[in-house]
């Protein structure tokens, strides 16, 4: 019997939870706020689904109910992607070590 592809996706999912567990424990507590903003940004990779949904309409009717929801989701996810990565960048740039000269 062939293995259902779902099982493979489930394996990826379970293993990623473990990777997440170990990776996140190694994040230094002082960077927990950037951690939250960057996880925010990367979870917006959901934009992939939004783009598929937005482009699903055929050439005569680009806007049908389904694709409109897709387009809206693109905007929402894009706010998060740009906002999330940029604000993380802004925060990380502020973390500086003690200057050597003093």
């Amino acid at each position: 019997m062939e293995i259902d592809p779902f099982i493979f996706r489930l394996s990826i999912f379970i293993l990623s939870i473990f990777i997440g567990y170990y990776v996140v424990w190694s994040v230094t507590p002082s960077l927990h706020t950037p951690l939250m903003s960057v996880t925010n940004a990367i979870s917006s990779v959901i934009i992939v689904g939004a783009i598929i949904a937005g482009l699903a309409g055929n050439s005569e009717s680009i806007f049908n109910t389904s694709s409109i929801f897709g387009f809206l989701a693109i905007s929402l996810a894009a706010i998060n992607i740009f906002g999330g990565f940029l604000v993380t960048q802004r925060m990380l740039q502020m973390y500086k070590k003690k200057k050597k000269d003093k």
Binding site: F13, I42, G49, N80
Partner: protein
């Protein structure tokens, strides 16, 4: 682009996201990590375009909507003050949740576009995954909106509770399961809409009873939910980048919630059930006895610090409210000029979200190697001359160690009282978020500085010079 090739690229972007989180293990590697994240996102988006291969007029609209969202996001990211970071993150969570709901709706209405079958005849597995994505997404959305309103102060931070709340929530959760089951059997779109509506409602009801002091847990928890919602959608779309990311974000949020709960010595369950702070507030106002308090002014504080050889600063949410971080840094600079050793002690739940104080201090150009976590620095208080508590309260309350009756008993606290003298900047003697009196105020070695945190710090600096 063939499906296999795009699947490999999605995997690569998933790996890049793992590296993005991995980079955060130290500030030196963190910027590179963020770059990996951006790269992963670029790959995922590009591959999606290429695999659809449809560059007709629809493509233009995708770009337009992407640019609209992107410019709003970029604008917010540059404008937002660092003190408002908790609200921003809560707001962003709500967007991820809503986007998940929209994608699920879109997939439900047009399953053909996602290879999930046809309307009214969607594959069973996909339908379940879709329901999970939409349901969790809706909970994330409405929950984050409430968290946002509470953090912004638009909605009262005190917990809102009513009779039969837990029973109602339990019934709604059961009804969600029943709805999902019926949806799978009948494929009815009405049931799908009801499911989403009920999920919005439960998200709202779950967060409303949770008080302001528990906000760090709530934000972390919603962070986790947004991840699970993304993973649910990832299963629907059979997309490994989304599945990996969802799992990463989900476990990240869960770990942060755990750390926050431990920082308050509260069980995750009791936070979820909510109501903390409501009952305690009433009991504390009953037995208000007048105890003597020593209070001083900036001059006294400057005198004490000038004669100290080491000072530990304990910042809290009040520092953020007063925007005192820059003034504080200037004060510390002056102290350092006088050869006084200064370090910062940060409690895990200081502020309104994990790591909030660290960001504010970094913003004020405080080098991160002068900032220490609770376990690293707690033993140093006994050898320090002055502890300068600015905007923190409950996390310094010695009652947590001595009084088993206290609601915060057992919470790990900073041993501020062990210092030779404690300077406590606060506007009044009012209790903190937990609603309990701080024993530290009445200690022999405590000098209260009643003033706005920023003004007081500026005056101390003047007196130091």
């Amino acid at each position: 682009m063939s499906e296999n090739l795009s699947a490999i690229f999605y995997l690569i972007s998933g790996v890049l996201f793992i590296l993005a989180l991995r980079g955060l293990s130290s500030p030196e590697t963190s910027r590179q990590g963020n770059f990996f994240g951006i790269l992963g996102m670029l790959i995922a988006i590009t591959v999606t375009f290429l695999s659809i291969g449809n560059f007709s007029s629809g493509f233009t609209y995708v770009l337009i909507f992407l640019l609209i969202g992107g410019s709003i996001g970029a604008f917010i990211a540059y404008k937002i003050p660092m003190t408002a970071m908790p609200e921003l993150v809560a707001g962003f969570h709500s967007l991820v949740g809503l986007a998940a709901v929209f994608v699920a709706i879109s997939a439900f209405l047009n399953p053909g576009a996602f290879n999930l079958g046809s309307p009214g005849n969607i594959k069973l597995g996909s339908l379940i995954e879709m329901s999970i994505g939409a349901g969790v997404g809706a909970i994330t959305f409405s929950g984050s909106i409430i968290a946002f309103l509470k953090l912004q102060g638009i909605m009262s931070g005190s917990p809102i509770t009513f009779k039969g709340q837990h029973l109602l929530n339990a019934l709604i959760l059961i009804s969600i399961l029943v709805l999902t089951y019926l949806l799978c059997v009948t494929q009815s779109s009405n049931l799908f809409w009801t499911l989403i509506a009920v999920s919005f409602l439960i998200g709202f009801l779950l967060i409303v009873p949770i008080g302001g002091a528990d906000m760090p847990v709530v934000i972390s928890m919603l962070n986790s939910y947004s991840g699970w919602a993304a993973a649910g959608i990832g299963f629907t779309l059979e997309n490994s980048a989304l599945i990996i990311t969802g799992a990463l974000v989900g476990s990240s949020g869960a770990i942060l919630s755990y750390i926050m709960c431990k920082g308050m010595n509260r069980s995750f369950f009791s936070v979820i059930l909510g109501g903390f702070g409501a009952t305690e507030q009433s009991s504390s106002s009953q037995n208000k006895e007048q105890r003597p308090v020593k209070s001083g002014n900036a001059e006294d504080a400057a005198f004490l610090m000038k004669n100290a050889s080491s000072v530990i600063i304990v910042p809290g949410y009040g520092m953020a409210v007063a925007q005192a971080q820059h003034a504080l840094r200037e004060m510390v600079d002056t102290l350092k000029k006088n050869d006084i050793k200064v370090t910062y002690a940060i409690h895990p739940v200081a502020g309104r979200m994990p790591g909030h104080m660290n960001v504010l201090l970094a913003e004020a150009n405080v080098p991160y190697d002068e900032v220490f976590e609770l376990e690293e620095i707690n033993n140093d208080f006994a050898n320090a001359d002055v502890a300068f508590v600015i905007g923190a309260n409950d996390v310094t309350n010695p009652v947590a160690k001595t009084d088993p009756q206290s609601p915060i008993f057992g919470m790990p606290i900073l041993d501020v009282e062990k210092c030779k003298s404690v300077l406590f900047v606060k506007r009044s003697l009012s209790p903190g978020y937990a609603g309990i009196d701080n024993d530290l105020f009445y200690r022999e070695n405590t000098l209260m500085l009643f003033a706005d945190a920023k003004k007081m710090t500026e005056e101390i600096t003047k007196n130091l010079n």
